[in-house]
Subunit: 399 residues, 4 copies
């Protein structure tokens, strides 16, 4: 059984609500003890909403509060570095929401700060902790789909809920920084964290909203093994929040749907009011709620991993180094969108080397077997290649 932790929570927006709902639910050991907001009004309201004993608008006081041993950073992106540096200086464990930083350079400084201080640091990338993702990654590790060839991660919705997301100066970018960071880490989970992201190709555009940052982006990320990651992010999607992942391997396929099609379907002629789900667009017609939102979005498993790792003196599944890698990939995506060509991912790589995906080719009668099919009548048909001539032929062999 773990030690009970007491948390300083920095930030009282939507993510602060989700974090506290997770920590204070399900008969958990750990509690938020101190809440910090830049606004006294929001800090007080938040503390009352969640039964948090203390709140403050003094960042340093919050971080250094003697009753807490863990600092959780749920602030806008431009405020991460300052908060983390303070927490590291205070010698406290620090957990930071996604993305870690606005650029790889900033992430690198943050990473250096916690490594120099020697404090525990966890990257709060919730979507790699959804129960489906964790089980799917375990299945992939166990060989269920063979070698991973392709991963698609899609995160799209009608646009974020707070002003600062839309301000590229504070956020560091648009939909990529907001949503692509999730996708990149999901993709890394499937292709393997020791599989170096080599280069990226990215399209961005601002199609709908009157902003400077991108409201749509698609990127391809090529990994050392040859596996390709693909992310699609949008702030203009209609119909709710679309969180889906797909994995194709040499021996199998995985399709995950985290939000809009999870086995909960409801038609309502309206009039009931009430919250359906994050980014839901309607309260009538066919609706697709999720069961337990903080579980389906990964918050429950994420905090369990963080505190369990802290208790055992190990590393969580998602570290600040991972956050730094994500920023490095996003930087490459932005460079590619500008150069309109593939761009290398520039980063200090700690993950070792992964061989190229490969399958040994079978031969039949001196020819390479391209494909083997069982015909309806039970006979086996081979497609063969003569490597000398380059010719292909169909050949039916006895079953």
């Amino acid at each position: 059984m773990g030690r009970a932790h007491r948390v300083t929570l920095l930030g009282t927006g939507l993510i602060g609500d989700f974090y506290t709902m997770t920590l204070h639910g399900r008969r958990g050991l750990d509690r938020v003890e101190v809440a910090y907001s830049r606004s006294e009004e929001r800090a007080a309201a938040f503390a009352q909403r969640w039964g948090i004993p203390q709140h403050t608008t003094d960042l340093r006081q919050a971080v250094e509060h003697p009753d807490t041993d863990v600092v959780v950073v749920g602030l806008p992106n431009d405020l991460h570095e300052q908060a983390i540096v303070l927490a590291a200086a205070a010698g406290k464990a620090v957990l930071c929401t996604k993305p870690l930083a606005r650029s790889a350079e900033e992430a690198r400084r943050i990473l250096d700060a916690v490594e120099r201080a020697g404090v525990f640091a966890g990257y709060l990338e919730d979507l790699v902790y959804t129960p489906k993702t964790r089980k799917a990654v375990a299945a992939v590790r166990g060989g269920a789909v063979g070698e991973v060839l392709w991963v698609r991660s899609r995160e799209t919705h009608p646009g974020p809920h707070s002003a600062w997301f839309w301000d590229a100066r504070k956020a560091g970018g648009g939909a990529i920084v907001d949503l692509g960071c999730h996708c990149i880490e999901i993709v890394r989970g499937f292709v393997g964290k020791g599989n170096r992201p080599v280069e990226a190709m990215c399209w961005t555009d601002t199609l709908v909203h009157p902003i400077d940052a991108e409201d749509n982006a698609i990127a391809l990320v090529r990994f050392e093994s040859g596996a390709i990651g693909q992310f699609e992010v949008s702030w203009t999607f209609r119909g709710g929040m679309d969180l889906r992942d797909e994995v194709a391997g040499t021996d199998g396929t995985i399709w995950l749907n985290h939000f809009l099609r999870t086995g909960f379907e409801m038609f309502s002629s309206g009039g009931s009011g009430g919250y359906v789900a994050e980014k839901a667009e309607s309260e009538a017609g066919w609706l697709f709620p999720v069961g337990d939102e903080v579980s389906e979005l990964g918050y429950v498993d994420m905090f369990a991993d963080m505190f369990d790792a802290l208790d055992r003196g190990g590393e969580p599944a998602e570290t600040f180094y991972d956050g730094y890698v994500v920023n490095a990939v996003m930087d490459a995506c932005y460079r590619s969108a500008a150069s309109r060509a593939w761009e290398p991912v520039a980063l200090e790589w700690r993950g070792g080397s992964t061989p190229r995906v490969a399958r040994a080719a079978a031969t039949h009668d001196g020819r390479t077997v391209i494909k083997r099919e069982t015909l309806p009548d039970g006979r086996v048909k081979l497609i063969l290649k003569d490597e000398r001539t380059g010719d292909f032929e169909d050949r039916v062999v006895s079953g």
Copy 2:
């Protein structure tokens, strides 16, 4: 924040594993302190598997153990009464797995025992606690589907995993006692717990397995409001474990799928090995795992409700009285299967009265409006009934 509870767990079978996996996971406050099994070997293995400090084959010693304040009964059905009576005598809170008893008469004695002793008693009906069910019931309470007219609950799989389930003397019946108990309580949740189950009509048969008990059953349960509940249970279903619920109301519809179609789809050519999900039939081809099984099956929310209720001195959502009602409905089902006609549900009803579902009929030009449709061209068509002549007519009225 709740008090930490220490649990005596009676029974170390599959349900004991699920219960302990739930209590010991997700950084929970509460722990199993003492494990009891009739077999020393199983008790020891279970204690080691889950890091439980103490284990025993002495039931009384387990129940009365001074380090625990809660007794959880996870034993075969024929052993519930004895264990609960002991726990009640020991003045401990007692939580009992489903079904509460093998008959309403036995359930009534159990209910009396805990009520006389004044101990906290919770009915561990996990499937009404699945996140989807809880959210759906809340939506129904909020009016999202209007008045509930019909509920279908289906629970089918290829048959239980332990010998005693198949022995009607120990289990009290077959698929109805094993699975129908879930369905009845799910249905009650949707039609309202104050809505009295009036009568039942049930078909049973033993179609596949060489046993005396039913391996298939379908029942209709009519409630005081006129709402109809329908359950389908089977020990002969192929393809995994099918847990689905459907609700139809005057203003909406709900479809829940808890297990085989939850947004996790995997194709594997095989070879990976590994556990897919409870009652899964295969490790190759298209597979449909669930993300977090103990969450999807309701165990997490169930124990949270139980211990939270205990802490605040209130009642859990599922009480022993509910267990007794379920047994009374199942008794009526068995009587109906024998008599081949509707049979009244015999029980001491504590739930008050629910009015008949009803909608006020609109009138148009002195006639009853049966239906109102908007035509493709925007005009409105009414189907009208002349109550004097009994004649019906179509009438297009201006949009």
Copy 3:
């Protein structure tokens, strides 16, 4: 290649539109030549809409028209008998929409009329002809699910579109006569048409609409083999038209969804106007159209079977005898709803005999094998029954 047929179509309502859309689409050989309606205005509009050369309000003239060889009856239920008797007298092939009649007695007279006259007669039960149903029935015939144990057929929507459906005097009943007739024939297709429907148990109620006929019904139909059919029909369902079938067999399972979840999902913020699908309730929010409605609803394959059978001088898959059986089952349902007990299906049975479903029980060490499971570690566990003592045991045997 078939002979081109020329059709007299009786009735110009929704079903007449669907029939003609089917016949005149997809480069078909066969055409509607004469349209009949009781109203000159509707007849003329219909003929113009579909390019039909001739129309009339004289029933006899329509039936006996020298340019047509086939009479298709798409009239209200109370007008079927008269039209069919006229067609039989005219010596023409006659195809009649569902249900064949308002009662088994009326159906029997209709059946006698065409058999006496020796004319080709086809029962236009479209939903057994949906491409999914046909392929699923073929899979069942091929053994894909073993012996059929249970079939559920559900057809529900918010209520029919024309006044006469709501008038039990004209329709012969309510939701059962309108929708249950489809379900019964779907069930028969899966359990086998040679499998006699022995008895029925039915619940009906009028829960929402101010009518005398039932707006909701559920029935169980027991077949000679022991297989059970279950139908659910409603005129109060919200969310569109729900057409789903499920089959459970000893070796497999089939789930069909014909309408609301067929792989076509659309979210629209509204404003587009336009027809979505039959009985759709909305033009905004999440919508679930079907691709080709007359194909998905079975009309295309139905008419192809009818005319092909006529050309080869054989019988179609759905005959007037099938229509008569359906009426006989519905009669038993109505009797059961009144008597509140199982009622025998009274009919002249021509389908032969079907044995009871059965599986030979395996034995191990002198005991009956109840279940065989492979454990996670690869060992095999048996659940065994000692037939002398009636005791059950778990036994792990070497893999």
Copy 4:
């Protein structure tokens, strides 16, 4: 009613089977009269299988056969040009399977040939004719999703069935030429055929099969309006044939699934044998057949459009010019895969001009409205941008 056409079919492989199954089914007017194969054995077997009166191994004789007025080309890609030139010379209508050619240059010569000859020419791109695609495109044209921003078309399976597909010399490429051609035309249907494909960015790799051609590719195609098309093609996908399309617009979303999830789900413990669907990988476990394969794959509607257009003297929805555009886009994809940057689509454009997608920005209190949200309490929150300072703010305005 149309004229009956008599067809010369060139090629007797899988596509020839699908074409003839379509033409000879559903009581169609049109028939295959002459079948041509390079092999006498295959020609004879094919003619017998489908009841085709005449067959030959002489290409010219087949094309010029006096009994036929339409030539359908179902030959390997490298044989299209010769066959079409012959048909054009014979003055016959010619319909050619996809892709039209191996390159835009070859396609251009083919286009010129039929235009010079003045014969009717239809491009047999079946997947834009699936009932779902046609209805979805109609909904998009009607405004259901607003302006189209993004389209994804995915076509993947475990690899083609005949040797020539794998030989890049005959096929003109790998998975792009085989599958990407479908995707490009599907995308064009949704973004509008008058929306010029401007440039393409493409990744290809040969990850699994021992061939020179690509077995995996992903491409982005940017259109004049700013809309982006995305295709994913693979010959290494496991689990069947995955045909899915997604459309995102300013006001809505469309998701189509043509093959693996269409509302037909079957579990079989095996042993039934039998054909499940094209490219299905298994006959046991969970299977996902389609109802009517030639309808779901678009063949029925495709030939209906072709022959109807021929009868009325107009153009079909898919012309040889469309086939040429597809080849031009594929050429740009291959160039991009080589150059690793965006490449312009080089083609003679006949489609006019399409404006940039755009939405007029609303203002509030002199600031740009970025987003408008209704809060749970009914108040409205705006996210506003001050265009002078570039600052963003949240502001709650009265509902």
